[in-house]
Structures are given as structure tokens and as C-alpha cells.
Symmetry: C2
Subunit: 206 residues, 2 copies
Amino acid sequence: MSRNYAGLSRERIIIEALHIIAGRGLGGLSMRRLGDALEVEAMAIYHHFPLGKEQLFNAIAAYVTSPAPTGAAFDDEDEEASDSTEEETERVEEELDTRPWDVRLTMWAEAYRERLLAYSGALSLLAHRAPHTPNSAATHALMHRAFTEAGLRGDDVVRASDALHSYCLGSVVHQVRHSADEDAPDEEESTTRFTFGLRALLRGLV
Amino acid sequence: MSRNYAGLSRERIIIEALHIIAGRGLGGLSMRRLGDALEVEAMAIYHHFPLGKEQLFNAIAAYVTSPAPTGAAFDDEDEEASDSTEEETERVEEELDTRPWDVRLTMWAEAYRERLLAYSGALSLLAHRAPHTPNSAATHALMHRAFTEAGLRGDDVVRASDALHSYCLGSVVHQVRHSADEDAPDEEESTTRFTFGLRALLRGLV
DNA sequence: ACCTGAACACCGTTCAAGT
DNA sequence: ACCTGAACACCGTTCAAGT
């Protein structure tokens, strides 16, 4: 066929890439296979990601670590974050969240974990990438407020935030890493373990 | 040249692979490049890793997560762990370690972290691999003793072990992930943060 | 602007062959 | 047992061209 008005977009490409990753693993994602899935020649992808697969990986990493339905977080550095994406702010009105600090952090941690688990096939992309997204700034602010409210001061605030972030990420990596073990815990027990450690960490942190 | 008595071995291959990974990243490791570095045709590697690159990756993951100078931990599943590798047991005499449980866990955590940082280029290999090594059993026993000594009982012992493992792994991933940030903390501060979170976790766990 | 199609250098792996 | 060398299918990316 001569011409293909595929209506390609960065978001479509990323989502299709995540399908392939979920099905065949990260190693199973090739530009040609991705093109096939999008019903387009592989080279069409380069129009949306001119820097190639590495740029696509960055965008996937940003997408995976950003909360669900806001669509623009996965645009990467060379594109100014469009400041007009506050449709469906949903829980950015969390500034007026009056729940205790530990409840807010626990909610964040559980949501972060769920998202990482949902895209566990892309986990290894996160080992060397920490893309700047609108969401990462919001998370930073959320943690700063919560730990300050908990009584921490000075450098301890960022240290506690780092520890919480590390624990959540590590817990998911640990779970995925051992998911093929013959004595791997079921989903419920995995969640129990996550919560157990999370509570311990928050208790010890303040 | 007709014949090459290269004296190839699994360990030499793994170490050379880790050099390449350190220098050019995981994506820069190809069988052909690895062969060049070993001064051998790429296909010679298949004699030592008949299942190919995937098997090599597993062996690297085992090597990276096993303590330093014992040489046989990276043999993978299809090779029975040779039971004659107790030369230089060094700290396996830890059974008669009389230091407090938290000191022993802290020492383990710091050593584990150091090793992961030393091979940080291979970190993403650990996201989907948890190879069985002699060392993983030893670690499990060490943690079980320590947390039992700390007063934990039943399922909480393994939950605490998981939490500690998760935190250490996550802390390294978090550090490496952000090492390219313009405001990344220096090495000393990174260690301070690790210790801060580790102490908090151990305090909260018991 | 958006996509195609041929081309190039490189890759993992198989296989028959050499010693 | 250990390594070579040619071959095959596949890959990422460039580039000129089409609309």
C-alpha cells in the first residue's frame, strides 16, 4: 500500500511497546516488531523518537514511573513539559489532604508499588534511568511535607524520602526477581511482606 | 593463526564481560566484542556457555551477588555446586560470631551494597534473575539467626529478611539511577543516606 | 509533517570442520 | 575437549524518496 495514515503518537508507541515487553520481555522488543504491532514500517517510529531506541526507553521509563491517566509525563527532556496538563488533577489537590503523614506516605507507597508491578517487565529500564517528570516533583513535595510533619528536620527529610523510595523500588525488584522461584510467595503474602517492611521503615524513620 | 589455546574459562569470560559492561554499559556487551577482548573467536564462548548469552547473563548475575574471592558461586544450575570450595571461608566462620545481631546485619548490608555498587553496570540483570548460589543459602541462614536473636518469631523472620534485602537492593538501584542527576549526592552522602535508612529499618523491624 | 523502502553495519546462534 | 570460520536470520539506524 502506498500511504499509511497510521495516526502514530508517542503515547500509542509507548503503550504498544509495553504490550510487547509484557508478552515477550524487554529483549523481545525490537523496532521492527514494534512497527508490526503498530501496523507501520519500523522506521516510522523514528519520526516520533528521532534519537531512536534509547529515547524510547527513556520515555517508557518516564511513563512507568508516572501515575496512571495523565498523558504527558512521558515526554522527555527535549520537549518542554507542556504546562497545560492539569486536566484530571485527581490527587494533586492532595495539598489539602488532612490525613496523617504516615497514611499519606503509605498511600503513595502502595500506589507506586502497584504501578511498578503492573509494568514489571520494564523494571530493568529503571536501573539506569530516573527521568524528570512533573510527577517526580510532586512526589518530592509530598514526601517533604509528610516527613516534616512527622518531625524530621534538615537533611534527615531528604534522607528519609530516599529511604522510602529505595525500599519501595527494592521491594518490587526483589519480588519480581524471585517470582520464578519454586517457593515464591503468592500475591497476598507479597503484599503482606511489603506492608510489614513499610510500616517498620516508617516507624524507625521518625 | 590456526589454533588458539586461549585457556578460556567461565570465570575469565565473566570477568572480561564485567569489564566491558563497566566500560560501555550492558548494551555494549556483545558476544563478538567479548570474544575480541578474550582474544578468541566469539563462537568459542559457546563452548563454555552452551545456552548462549542468556546463560552468560545468569552467570554474571550469580557472580555479582556472591561475595568476592570464592570462585565457584557463578556456576549455574546445570552444574552441581562443587562441594569442595571451602578454601578461604573467611567469614563463614560467622557461626561463631558473637557480635550483636544488628552489628552482624549491618556488616552484611554494607558488604552487599559495596558489591552491588562495584558492578553497578550489571544491576539491571538482577531485576529478573535471582540465581541460586551457595552464598544465598548462607545469607538466608545468617538473617534467620540474627532476626530470631532480635526476638522475631514465625513469618516475621522471613518478612524482616525480605525487607532488609529489598532495602539494600533498592538503595543501590536508587543511587545508580540518580547518579547522572546534576544534583546527585556525592559518595559520602550516599553512604550516609544508606546507613540512615538501614538503621531506621532495623530499629523499626524489631 | 508523516511515512516508506532499500541499504549498511552489526548482532546472536548453528553447524561442519579443524586439532 | 576446545576452538575456528562461514553462514543465516535478525537487528538498529541512515538516507533519499514519496505524499
